[in-house]
Symmetry: C2
Subunit: 117 residues, 2 copies
């Protein structure tokens, strides 16, 4: 992907792909203890008898990992990755210890800002 | 709020309110270093010249804090807080060091599961 400096450098259909991170059991437990202390995120044995069927990362942990992958990838070059909100976030599959995650994105719409040109 | 054990215990209009947490500067920096390393989440001086106008928590940090408040509040009694996704998440205002957050919720719709009765 060529360097993105300005809004006009973005084109529909441009794609980006991040590097990869491996999610460790220690990472899952640490995040869960602070932010999402439920059995399926905290305890391997207890997790087996839950809807997730085994120890899994908090969905907010997965989201945060994806944020970091996005920041490292810099799809908008030097510009910040900052949004007012999120729609259609879906956790499709549990993230287990040892899973490797990467992020793929595509420019699907280009809407010039009315207030921050 | 009375004890919630079963789906039928939930009624439209039921409200819940969590305890309060204070978000420290150290918390903001620690989360940002791992998950959202951008100037407005990392550096008090640099943050002043950004759209957020000062050091602010990552939106994913705020979301994770809210998850923890929800888990502590147990709006569904002994049942897990687990969802397939999120819609209409909006970060309305920056969360600054020292800000105190709590969560308020209301039962606005009751949809029996088709697959997990």
């Amino acid at each position: 992907m060529s360097t993105i400096e300005w809004f006009d450098d973005l084109k529909l259909g441009m794609r980006f792909k991040s590097g990869e991170v491996t999610v460790s059991k220690a990472d899952i437990l640490r995040f869960a203890r602070e932010f999402d202390p439920q059995p399926f995120h905290l305890d391997e044995e207890a997790a087996k008898n839950t809807m997730l069927g085994g120890l899994s990362a908090s969905g907010w942990h997965t989201a945060a990992i994806c944020m970091n992958l996005a920041v490292q990838t810099r799809p908008f070059g030097p510009h910040p990755l900052l949004g007012a909100g999120v729609d259609d976030l879906r956790w499709m599959k549990p993230v287990r210890p040892g899973d490797r995650l990467h992020l793929e994105g595509e420019v699907v719409e280009l809407v010039p800002s009315k207030t921050k040109p």
